[in-house]
Symmetry: C2
Amino acid sequence: MKTIIREVKEQGKLIGLVPTMGCLHQGHLSLLEAAREECDFTVMSIFVNPIQFGHGEDYEESPRDLERDSRLAGAYGCDVIFSPPVKEMYPPGYSTFVHVEGLTAGLCGASRPGHFRGVTTVVTKLFNLVRPGRAYFGQKDAQQALVLKKMAGDLNMNLEIVILPVVREEDGLAMSSRNSYLSPEQRKQAAVIYKSLQAAEKMILSGVIDSEEIKRAVEAVISGADLARIDYVEIVETGELQPLSVLEGQCLIAVAVKFGATRLIDNIIVEV
Amino acid sequence: MKTIIREVKEQGKLIGLVPTMGCLHQGHLSLLEAAREECDFTVMSIFVNPIQFGHGEDYEESPRDLERDSRLAGAYGCDVIFSPPVKEMYPPGYSTFVHVEGLTAGLCGASRPGHFRGVTTVVTKLFNLVRPGRAYFGQKDAQQALVLKKMAGDLNMNLEIVILPVVREEDGLAMSSRNSYLSPEQRKQAAVIYKSLQAAEKMILSGVIDSEEIKRAVEAVISGADLARIDYVEIVETGELQPLSVLEGQCLIAVAVKFGATRLIDNIIVEV
């Protein structure tokens, strides 16, 4: 990988990186398309990063089908797939971590301690290995997007973090590799997640700005699905991710919902 | 800085970086000489990094004479001095930190909690800003040297960390900007630090391998100076910096000694 990157850099090419954990879906492929359009050389990393999973999370079960993923990425014009072994990324004695404070405290950071430290660490490593001028991430992971932008800015990284919109199934469910874990009945009910966000958007557009009122409505919609268990429903501003009691400016409405052991997240941003 | 670096990189030049906190002495200048010899373009950063100083440490009093330092560095062939304002390096809301675990727990890390996190964070920022192919540090800060090498390896940074030998005054005292804080009597007595290390080396060469015995001898030499207060005397292996009870292989003998409020460190490596 280093040799390829050195050669590409010597040619003065702009490298686009799409970091993934594999099990590619249309969300990933939309990132790849943008990278291909905007950059001279496109790298997709496929690496299921053990250090961003907590105890009892789905690390071992993370889907891995490198052959299918490579074929798909190739069809979308990806130049190189970078899929390093775990023991090369984290050899015995590995001990360096990159951590963004503050932004990582709430939302998914509260439910998944250590998760974002794992994300920022592996992304830093990937950035150093691939040296992209642009790196592409999805808005579905809204908090991750903000955390990575903060990291890149704070550490003076030489690149642009590009965030692209959520890609959805026909019934509105945000694309995620985790959707494949759902039973048919869970999958059907999971459409409630985006419906709850649409309900919130509708309320806000009709003039409601009381955060608790909107959150109660979101929770009511989700609770209509009897297999759904709410992890969190939060309304925060998009700078520091601080909770809002009254909506103002750019507001992120973010939810995490469990169906059985499968935890799904989604969000919308509404301008008030 | 970014513009200069972009141009230099486009010319395919190898950049050498010498990170300092200013108040240059022969130790720094020996790093600069090596950088100039080995690289095409030499940058010295002069930045007194607030986040590596603890409460009650000498941050405010850190010596600053940019004019003198620039003149000296220029005379030694430095191409650019990079001396950013604190508020540009750490704007309000700054919240990203790089941390090396394990290696930073003992020695100076134990005496100065948070110190190495400050060092690894600022060095990462400087590396991203200057994008050196080689970065130069002194062996006087033995633990820092190992921590930075570990960080660069773990995070797949694209550069080589070069460590150069301690430069000493005539009486053996390791060069340090802190030496200027010493009163004439303290300065005179501070020579005892290196003498204690030489005594240890002599014992080891004569066959002593019991760590406690050597440490007692080192402490005895230092205690001969009535103004000296020992912070630590440690004998560790040079990989993980774990304490040795019996010397074997490459051994780092590291000491920290206070004269009044001034904390001085020094070390030698002995092969057993």
